[in-house]
Symmetry: C2
Subunit: 536 residues, 2 copies
């Protein structure tokens, strides 16, 4: 296996970097051990992250199999890094729905359409979630019913299942085959997390989607508690779709949450430079920024454009892969604001060329985002706030002007804003003046850049690179056939025992009995005394 | 600074070990930075641990100053590794008291003396704790009142204060001088730990001294809650001794706990191979086994003795530095049991030679414990259960027969027993048969050795050596002048906000108002309807 590693195509390149020597020395025990990993990914942007880990697993000599649906556009059937196991079912991931949703949301918010329209749209996304969970449930059913396929997976003797907890498919199969389970995860949907990750006091751990920080006023804490309750209700709506298939194949004792609690390892796609500090567990590994790497040289034409900016530098704008097109009025406002700047702008935009576009702005269909953010001339990143982009900006120390749209984007950008390393603008009400002012502020107030560069220094100052840390722990689980010794007993307890409710009731009962007995005794004594006095 | 490292006396030796290359590569950023560390250690066995870190800090080119009391026997005035700052006050650490306490405890328990005697002894140790906290309080007062000394400490521009939280002296001085604070810690005395380390549900996190594991029955959980309450009361007794001096020098807003909560880093002297898994915090670093190292060759006479054991192997017995002598009847029982064994025994014992001592047993005043435990012929470690010895046994994979006496010893050994890697015998009621049976069981049942070797494999399988991890994070705090970004907001909240008590009261109030209004409304409606019906 060491030989396998040494003769990998990019080995010479790797050996120039001292980091590889370190990794080589540290990871010697696992290099002599080539494992087999079964991956259940989630389509879309989550796949981008999973692929980074899969490629690294492959480069370290592990065999990877990826379970994909036949309609997947992101997860290809053939790859040099993995073998695909293609299922006839759909993935449940509907990219068109998501981009249409964002387009409609922008239209409704900008044109001030009725609250009813907004509510209808919210219902659409709720229905889409239910539809996705139904599809995933069908996938699990099809997979487990295919005895031939399941036997071949069993015979392949995988060392672990690596999956995204957005779908329970991987967790179900891991339990079914008795394999160690590793999650690659950004958020946990069930808020408080007591039973999933670690105790999460609602007083300083904001719920996902609340746009709250870890410093909350009384009414913000109240909101956080209410959102928690609502989320629990929403989750209760989604669960029944999995209940039947889980009980059928794994037995009546197994519920949805116990599958997640059984994970050997949680690889979290954040770190505490980006995320607010919070309680954690021994089996949670933080690998935020694992996808970041030093910038490579730009293609010559792009480099020429960047260099032409002189001392003013360059602004990079991208709203992620989902949002290539924006409403025409909005693009005109953005283009007009850019046209006023002395900086050069590189804007990933796939729609029609806005009429107000200045000479300083280059529209591109795709950009080498990491290489651009790592370029010394880049002064500002205008971003929608996807986790990947934000982590890359932290890694390269580039301040952010954030235009969040949906999902975790407002929450991600709030974390940058709270550290003074960026500013958020409401894209729904923004015009060219607001946008221009925002750009000016982040460019000209040196605190934004200084704060982001401080985050960058903190993020980079780790004993090991985040990707190496993630791989170390995945291989640890393979070497030791799990990591049960890192899992707390909380996972095996009913909620009333976990929260000591039974003990408290018992103690209250004892106190009550002592009180009642004492009162009865004193009363009795008093009555006797009174009777005695009366008799006297 | 790199040059400084390269020309250290033992550099050549170091360079033979690949681990040093790894450390050198990883720690490059800190090798070019020599920091200044002010250490407030605790005397006795805690100093043994602190010294390991001090020596490593020194070997990496940092300057270390150690604050000691003039009566300290452990912490020497002169050392090649640190400069001493000697105070005229006592350390509060009374070694004689502790060994006398253990001797009396053994006598009382073995001779079946009255419960009253036992209670008196417990009170003695409580009084000793109070006396120690008074001495520490005086030390802080003397130190802060010595303006000349404080000015010289200020002028020395230390980068951080490293201390043991058994005494708040280091934490007070760190706050007084505005320096980053790092703790080197084994246990936290305040049980639940919500406000000190991390949320610690009493349902599966046993209180120190309870001899409970993380798997508790209802009545064990009840006991755990009661012990928590008692500990809180005990702590409340000790606190007033510090209150006056803290308020006088740091201001009325600062209380005892807030000093601890302000720590930048907690270096815990355990890991989750030894300790039961539990919630933790981003600024808690686990360095269990940091003092362990590969065994060196034994002195020739000891090696000859060990080799003379043939295939039977060797048993190593030590009850720690505090307990060199045991009651005569007990030593006779132990010696007689050893005499029956085919193994050779090396016993650290400083008392008179027992009459029943066999030819196979070697009494020694001192032993190279780590080198003996790492010797391939060593089959069993008979130990009192101090954290250091237990960690060394885990590191070398030697099963333990435990004879716990006081402090954390029963808890430490319980962790080994719970993993099936050792067995505990009650030293207070033990005779030669019980002892002999215990030895036979751990020697002949292969599960003990297999389980301990599994723990050893898990413990050794880390991305970095625990001592390197500890040093990385100490130097991280120096480089970034603290680690405030790893400290949660919980530390700044009053208890009622932290536990959302105010929010819950508010929500209950709202629910109550809605209920009352609804009831009043319905009542009003009903009355009106009845009146109307009556009128009709």
């Amino acid at each position: 296996m060491i030989l396998h590693f040494l003769f990998l195509p990019n080995f010479r390149l790797k050996m120039r970097c001292p980091g590889v020597w370190i990794a080589l020395c540290i990871l010697c025990p696992c290099l002599v051990f080539g494992g087999k990993v079964l991956v259940f990914p989630i389509d879309g942007s989550h796949w981008v992250n999973m692929k980074v880990i899969i490629e690294e697993l492959h480069s370290r000599g592990h065999e990877v199999s990826v379970v994909r649906s036949s309609d997947s556009w992101y997860i290809k059937e053939t790859s040099p890094f993995y073998t695909a196991i293609t299922l006839g079912t759909g993935s449940g991931f509907d990219e068109d729905f998501l981009s249409n949703f964002v387009a409609k949301l922008l239209e409704i918010q900008r044109e001030g359409k009725s609250a009813w329209m907004r509510f209808k749209l919210e219902m659409e996304i709720m229905q889409s979630s239910i539809k996705m969970s139904e599809t995933i449930s069908e996938t699990i059913e099809v997979l487990l019913e295919d005895k031939h396929l399941m036997q071949s997976i069993k015979d392949a003797k995988y060392d672990l299942v690596l999956t995204d907890p957005v779908s329970p498919a991987g967790a179900v199969v891991a339990r079914y085959l008795g394999l160690p389970l590793v999650f690659n995860v950004r958020w946990t949907s069930t808020g408080e997390g007591h039973m999933t990750i670690a105790p999460s006091p609602l007083s300083y751990i904001p719920m996902t989607g609340t746009e709250l920080s870890d410093k909350m006023s009384f009414f913000q804490r109240l909101l956080n508690v209410i959102v928690y309750a609502v989320t629990e209700i929403q989750v209760a709506f989604l669960l029944p779709h999995y209940k039947a298939v889980i009980e059928k194949h794994l037995g009546p004792d197994i519920d949805y949450f116990s599958l997640f609690q059984a994970a050997d390892l949680w690889l979290m796609r954040v770190d505490f430079v980006f995320e607010f500090p919070r309680p954690t567990m021994p089996n949670v590994v933080y690998m935020g920024g694992f996808q970041c790497k030093p910038a490579k040289a730009l293609p010559q034409d792009l480099e020429d454009f960047v260099q032409s900016s002189g001392d003013h530098g360059v602004i990079v704008m991208s709203l992620g892969t989902l949002i290539g097109v924006l409403p025409r009025d909005l693009t005109d406002e953005i283009a007009a604001a850019f046209a006023k700047l002395p900086q050069k702008v590189i804007w990933r935009y796939t729609g029609d060329r806005p009429a107000s576009l200045g000479n300083n702005t280059l529209l591109v269909d795709w950009m080498p985002q990491n290489d651009l953010l790592g370029h010394p001339k880049t002064k500002l990143f205008i971003a929608h706030g996807g986790t990947n982009g934000v982590q890359e900006a932290i890694y390269h120390g580039v301040p952010i002007l954030g235009l969040p749209l949906i999902f975790d984007q407002p929450d991600n950008l709030l974390r940058i804003d709270a550290r003074g390393a960026g500013k958020i603008i409401d894209i729904f009400s923004m015009d060219q003046d607001i946008f221009y002012q925002g750009i000016q502020e982040v460019l000209n107030d040196p605190s934004y850049r200084m704060n982001m560069q401080r985050l960058s220094r903190l993020h980079r100052d780790q004993p090991m690179k985040p990707l190496d840390t993630a791989l170390f722990w995945i291989e640890f689980v393979m070497r030791h056939k799990g990591a049960a010794h890192l899992r707390t007993e909380s996972y095996r307890m009913p909620w009333y025992s976990y929260h000591s409710v039974d003990v408290m009731l018992f103690l209250s009962g004892v106190v009550l009995i002592i009180l009642c007995t004492s009162v009865a005794f004193i009363r009795c004594l008093l009555i006797n005394t009174v009777i005695k006095i009366k008799r006297q």
